[in-house]
Symmetry: C2
Subunit: 587 residues, 2 copies
């Protein structure tokens, strides 16, 4: 046996026992002829004391032991002398007096330290040596947290009568939004499997098959241009239920998350229970975003009516063009410097605004770029409606309503970060519902599905499909948390006629429809039940729970921001023989 205990589990109650441990040298100190090793395994760290009275061959063997060597140690558990306890270590009441030491594997000097997060190296260096970086306590804990999250989900859904069903990774190329990753077939040259962007079609077919309540921790693949926090492959809790209305699905998922958060991340607080439910229109108007961060106020205030007769040209021209005027109030920001305000104006412009009028509310009255254009009664009404007080900064946007909302929504988040307004222990979940069914693509001048083409429209809006697509609403819903979209779902189409109409609206030819979705349309003719589901993303959820800045920190072996695995060097060239077997050439 390599060990009788793990390093992190030894307590004062073990005092007097002889134990065998195995692990890595986390630190080494030498002090007055005595060597102290902190021995580490996944469970924690324990102090090993190597006294000079040990046999010479042992002392000689350990003389060279450095960071990250792998040792097996047999020793005697002893309470530390009074005053020498370390309250910062779970094992801090005891030490192990070494009797035998076996070097299981030496270690070269690591390319970076893993016993501390100070001086983190460049991310590509961390990823190249991912197997070392994962030794960091923080990353190890992230892996354990991720395991717990997924375990909780599985246990909860199992209890609710769901069954987990694996769906194929090698499936059909069916462009449904993003680009597919393709897998060339050797047996059928020129033909390809595709890696699924999600198991959407398959889970719907499982509902047609009567599986009733399905889930899967599903790997999904999207060949998108990588930017920000995307990975070529990601993981979602994919679930689908039969014989449900929208709120049946929301209640199930809300119940799961509400029980899960305290169980897996007790340091996190839920914003409210039950979760708030907003219409898409409402969140845009109030928060300027379809994924609002509810952990702080600063809601958007519509002041179009108050400023309807403003003498400020910027406002006038916006109103004349049929636009709106709205503002947000940044607390205690009246003293912002000219430089900061200029920078902020650039932020506003990045969201499409032409400028960023503002008012600083001071004890001496309103100041700022637009102050002189405001009449006294406008100022009074403005302060009353927006709640702005002395010391606050009022920031305006006036333009088409969509641009106004987007701009102020963006600035609201800017202030959140600058003023540290969001409680980091809070998980502010909410539902967003009643999305528009179609989105008009200005570029292609065509209607597209706002969600995906399998989402059910509101039945009452069906007659408006042809006459007024902009006024058709959908049975889609999003789960949002802290400014992120954490899940998306919908009640699905289960009738062939509606699905067919949907594909036709999207401009697909009959041929295309048959080739790509023929099996779905046919399935709906053989007794498809009403059904719906959703798919919370696992990576982002764990990232939020672990207080990490990006999803790479919670994925064991992530690709870097260019989509490369820099540890194993993938993608990479392959042998000519392999290409020949696939009958592939490159241009």
């Amino acid at each position: 046996m390599y060990r009788t205990h793990t390093c992190g589990e030894i307590r004062a109650s073990h005092a007097g026992q002889t134990v065998t441990l195995a692990g890595w040298v986390n630190r080494r100190r030498d002090h007055g002829g005595v060597a102290f090793f902190d021995l580490r395994d996944r469970s924690g760290v324990v102090q090993i004391t190597i006294n000079p009275d040990l046999p010479k061959e042992i002392l000689d063997a350990v003389a060279n032991v450095r960071f990250e060597w792998v040792l097996q140690i047999e020793g005697f558990v002893q309470k530390r002398p009074a005053g020498n306890e370390n309250p910062n270590m779970a094992t801090g009441e005891i030490e192990i007096i070494a009797k035998h030491i076996t070097i299981l594997n030496p270690a070269k000097t690591l390319p970076f330290m893993v016993s501390s997060d100070a001086d983190l190296p460049d991310e590509n260096m961390r990823l190249k040596y991912r197997y070392l970086d994962l030794r960091r306590e923080r990353l190890t804990n992230n892996m354990v947290l991720r395991h717990k999250v997924v375990k909780f989900m599985r246990d909860y859904l199992d209890k609710q009568g769901f069954i987990e069903i694996e769906t194929p990774i090698m499936f059909k190329a069916t462009p449904e939004g993003a680009r597919d990753y393709l897998v060339p077939s050797r047996l059928f040259p020129g033909q390809f499997y595709a890696l699924p962007q999600s198991p959407q079609q398959l889970k719907q077919l499982l509902m047609v098959s009567g599986m009733d309540k399905y889930f899967q921790i599903a790997r999904c693949f999207r060949d998108e241009d990588l930017r920000g926090d995307r990975q070529p492959e990601f993981t979602q809790l994919d679930l689908e239920m039969s014989f449900v209305h929208r709120d049946d699905v929301l209640d199930l998922v809300e119940g799961l998350f509400t029980e899960m958060i305290p169980a897996v991340a007790p340091h996190k607080k839920l914003y409210s229970s039950p979760w708030p439910k907003f219409s898409y229109k409402e969140v845009l108007e109030r928060f300027g975003s379809d994924k609002p961060d509810l952990r702080f106020g600063m809601e958007l205030v519509d002041v179009t009516d108050i400023l309807a007769k403003s003498e400020f040209k910027v406002f006038q021209s916006a109103l004349e063009a049929g636009g709106a005027i709205k503002c947000i109030v940044a607390p205690k920001s009246a003293e912002m410097s000219r430089k900061e305000l200029d920078a902020l104006t650039e932020v506003a412009k990045s969201f499409g605004a032409k400028g960023m009028p503002y008012l600083a509310v001071t004890a001496e009255g309103a100041k700022g770029s637009a102050a002189k254009f405001f009449k006294e009664e406008e100022l009074t009404a403005l302060k009353e409606k927006s709640g702005a007080g002395v010391g606050d900064l009022i920031v305006f946007a006036s333009d088409a309503r969509a641009i106004v909302n987007k701009t102020l929504g963006g600035l609201r988040l800017w202030f959140r970060d600058k003023l540290d307004l969001a409680d980091k222990t809070m998980m502010a979940f909410a539902w967003v519902v009643d999305f528009p069914f179609f989105a008009f693509n200005e570029e292609t001048q065509a209607w597209e599905s706002e969600h995906h083409p399998f989402t059910m429209p509101k039945m009452a809006d069906l007659p408006k499909f042809d006459s007024n697509p902009a006024e058709v609403y959908s049975e889609a819903y999003d789960m949002v948390c802290n400014g992120y979209e954490t899940a998306s779902g919908s009640i699905r189409i289960h009738r062939r006629d509606i699905q067919m109409k949907m594909f036709q609206m999207l401009g697909l030819s009959e041929e295309d429809i048959q080739a790509k979705f023929g099996h779905m349309l046919e399935a709906f003719e053989y007794g498809a039940p009403p059904h719906g589901g959703m798919a919370p993303g696992i990576d982002r959820l764990v990232m939020l729970l672990a207080d990490e800045p990006n999803i790479r920190e919670v994925i064991a072996f992530p690709k870097n921001q260019n989509g490369r695995d820099v540890m194993a060097d993938a993608p990479s060239g392959v042998e000519p023989k392999q290409l020949k077997e696939l009958k592939i050439k490159f241009e």
Copy 2:
């Protein structure tokens, strides 16, 4: 709400309640103006009674209802009249007297019946309409069983301190046996990701990272020529542990399976506990197979010594060439017809034998092709050693020992099937250990690894690496059950020097080693712990537990025997634009 209950849960205790159910029409009978629907969902079937006193619009609506229509039914639970109960249905004590019926979706006539397994259509037809085929009670139950198996594994391993970690599906092309499926990179044209044949390297790197006890229900991919019961993608319980010796791993897995079988498949019996453990040499000698079926006897008997002086030329020449003579005894088979014996001889030849001498033990003495060559004392010794009695058939093989074992091992299974010797309720698990480390490939005249190149040799055999590779044994082990290999694993190499030597023995160039395995070799230098693991296959295990003849019956959406998904039609052609983006042309 679509339903208050599921169909299968209604019992006599619900009598008097009004319930709402939703499901599929499993059967319809009309009898004296009353219609009876069996309504089905995943939970089971319940009888709906539609009396002629219902409003005309309801009666009209249901007049056309046929098999597999989807209905919602509100009705009154009523105990069936005495004598009308159906003891074969869990809901057989009650019926639902319909009050309202809503047609949720009609159904065209299905291409085949799903309410019965009689007249199963051609498999490709079943796979094309897999979403309908899964409605069969048998297939639905297989999916539920699979869910339970995997759930049990996860719960058990979680309790043992394992954490589940997801490893990438898009990884590096590293030919390690079978052919890789490749994924062309759009961002790096000419380069490829590969789908993992197993997470072997990644799980070893997780051990280097200190994850200690890892598992994953892992999808694996092999682009092999499809034959028999193979799928391009399959699923295994992938697990790995640090600081373990061989028996630590075996004990863990044996504990898991021993608790699991009665929990998930109570109709199955375990052959023994603890499981028998055989050396590779021993199973070949006794059962003629490295995956012995222990559910019946008919072990191979070595009769070389008895027949050392045989006058039978066939035996003589085998012995002169240094071979062996062995036999098996087929019970009650002395009366086999000439035709059957000829057929059996062909079976023997398919395993490499040149012929198949046999003796039928009858009340009148030994009969058969070789009978006349046997001396009386040989016959006596033979019967004593083999235990053959009157009515039995003794079948011989004489050749090189490997061919003898293989032939009799194959014939043993032939008799198992013919004579129905194996108890179908039995799960006869066993361990096979002490495999040879190298295998000599006669074709390439080179040594190959018998298991895979990361398997540790027995340390005591290291000195024989160069001088006598055939006598090096490995720390590999197999789990076998009922004649199948159900898992394979090993203690791994964790030292760079041994791994390097292994790659060199396999004839890899320094360049190849660096390009393909550089990251592994480097990892071993930074403090790799001793580790090992194994990977039980999920598909075959569930197949055995479900008494199915092949793994396609326990996979939700399998490929057919040509590796095609005939439901969605994959693989298939893709749009020229996609090939252009990948810069791919076909020869």
